[in-house]
């Protein structure tokens, strides 16, 4: 008889210290040894992990009021502009915003040494950060300028809020042109000199729950080394199943909006990141627990690198021009082997997503759950799944 468990039953076992928790990679081994049914019966929770650059990240900061009061109109943190069109002393620092004096790509390829992601990393590392603010002055908020130094502990609130993280799957980037290109997928040499990819494959959270059966609004997660939550679906959330000639090649397109208290996160898991010729961003560590409620959830959570595929996309011409299509699909097992065959040519591969760090996250989250510190949350709202058939639209121009 097939197994059925509830969140309450699993949480009760977690509280008693009796829950069986394995990482997604350990589940794969267990299924190979004992079969799916037995593994689904035995295992209560599977932990996943990913550590990679995640654009569409940022933090809401509430600085506290000045004396006299000030309604900040423009704000800079270490010279990086933050958006303060929210309230008097609230601002949002976005990961990809660059330092005011950054030469950007004027000396191509630019280095993009310091941006919003670096500010967030400095804050979480408890480094002092220069705050500069300008205002126009009102009767209730008369002050017009401020220059001071803050730390994460000085300010009232710091809430990491990442509108799009944890991409379910991602392109494997190659370059069919005759010149080296500098992209958010790294430096790609001409004529398919190399191929870069960026997910943790069989450990990647959303590849292990492709139909969003357990990951939804309110799901408690590992975020940046602390506790976070799924706030909503991410922007550009267009989940789908990759189906080629009737063969399911895994899933793609889902994303998550994530949030959590920045003050309890760690600099090991929020790292300022620069891509030569492209820009700056933030690398984020995310780990999501998947409750094994039934065999179907276990079956997807046990998908291995050989069964998960990424589309190969030309970033020299097709991607920038928004030309649909790809150069085929390649398994994560092949990508992780160090070389793939594209159009008959052997191409060396490199990841942008750290597998050792992803493993560390999955193992850390497993430890938290085993100790009884971390219970699972049932989503208060499910997220759109491939069955909902959401389709992306491009901008209409006049």
């Amino acid at each position: 008889m097939s197994v059925e468990k509830t969140y309450a039953e699993i949480n009760s076992k977690i509280r008693e210290g009796k829950a069986v928790v394995v990482t997604a990679e350990e589940l794969i081994t267990l299924v190979e040894e004992k079969g799916l049914s037995k593994a689904a019966q035995e295992v209560d929770v599977v932990t996943t992990g990913t550590f990679a650059p995640m654009c569409s990240s940022g933090a809401f900061l509430s600085f506290g009021h000045t004396k006299p009061r000030m309604k900040m109109q423009k704000v800079w943190l270490n010279g990086v502009s933050a958006y303060t069109g929210i309230a008097a002393v609230d601002a949002y620092i976005g990961a990809t915003e660059m330092h005011e004096d950054d030469p950007l790509n004027s000396n191509y390829p630019g280095e993009f040494r310091y941006g919003g992601g670096h500010v967030i990393a400095d804050l979480v590392a408890r480094k002092p950060v220069k705050l500069k603010a300008l205002a126009y002055g009102t009767d209730c908020y008369p002050r017009r300028n401020l220059e001071t130094t803050i730390t994460l502990d000085d300010i009232n609130e710091a809430i990491l809020f990442n509108p799009r993280n944890c991409y379910q799957n991602y392109n494997c980037a190659v370059n069919l042109t005759n010149r080296t290109i500098y992209t958010y997928m790294g430096m790609i040499k001409p004529q398919m000199g190399n191929a870069n990819y960026s997910t943790s494959g069989q450990l990647s959270p959303l590849l292990k729950d492709p139909h969003f059966k357990t990951i939804g609004v309110g799901t408690k997660i590992f975020l940046g080394g602390g506790i976070g939550y799924v706030a909503w679906n991410g922007t550009q959330h267009f989940p789908s199943m990759i189906d080629v000639d009737g063969k399911e090649l895994g899933s793609a397109g889902g994303t998550l909006a994530l949030t959590g208290d920045l003050k309890q996160m760690s600099p090991r898991w929020l790292v300022g990141t620069s891509y030569l010729g492209y820009g700056a961003t933030l690398s984020v560590g995310v780990g999501i627990p998947i409750p094994i409620l039934n065999e179907e959830i276990a079956r997807y959570a046990a998908k291995k690198d050989e069964e998960l595929f990424a589309p190969i996309v030309d970033y020299g011409e097709a991607y920038p021009s928004f030309t649909p299509g790809n150069l085929g699909y390649v398994s994560y097992a092949d990508l992780k082997s160090g070389k793939i065959i594209v159009n008959g040519k052997e191409v060396p591969t490199a990841p942008l997503s750290s597998m050792p760090r992803a493993r560390e996250i999955a193992a850390t989250l497993k430890g938290w759950i085993q100790k009884g510190d971390f219970q699972l949350t049932e989503p208060v709202k499910t997220l759109p799944s491939p069955a909902d058939g959401f389709i992306a639209h491009s901008i209409k121009e006049d």
Partner: protein, 133 residues
């Protein structure tokens, strides 16, 4: 006299020329080839230890030929604190000095294979590869 350590980088046109022979014959230099990667189909690299009174003249001869000559008084270091072992460097390192160990997918750096091209210094997203003098 202590030997001068230099890195030579040159195009395919130079690969077919006997440049080391000329250094020895014309400039009376003692040349020790520490490392060489010479292939008539791609850019070549050579690390030499050169001793002799006319070493500057010899190096100028190479420069005039279009060879890039870099003094090797520096080394590339990996800052272990900053490296997150993503692997972005492994796809662009021309000699495989930076490589991934499998199946752990941990990034390793073999300084003996490094030819100081410094591509990793520019490409590392975490600024973990550093030039030390």
């Amino acid at each position: 006299m202590s030997p001068k350590r230099i890195v030579l980088r040159f195009g395919t046109d130079i690969s077919v020329k006997p440049i080391v022979y000329r250094l020895v014959k014309d400039f009376d230099l003692v040349v020790n080839i520490v490392k060489a990667d010479v292939n008539p189909k791609k850019e070549g690299t050579m690390i030499l230890e050169v001793t002799g009174d006319q070493s500057e003249n010899g190096l100028n001869y190479l420069r005039e030929l279009g060879v890039s000559v870099q003094n090797l008084n520096q080394e590339i270091i990996r800052n272990e604190e900053k490296c997150v072992m993503c692997g972005a460097c492994t796809g662009i390192c021309p000699t495989g000095a930076l490589y991934m160990e499998r199946p752990s997918m941990e990034v390793r750096f073999d300084g003996d294979q490094c030819v100081f091209c410094q591509l990793c210094v520019k490409v590392c997203p975490m600024w973990a590869m550093e030039v030390r003098l």
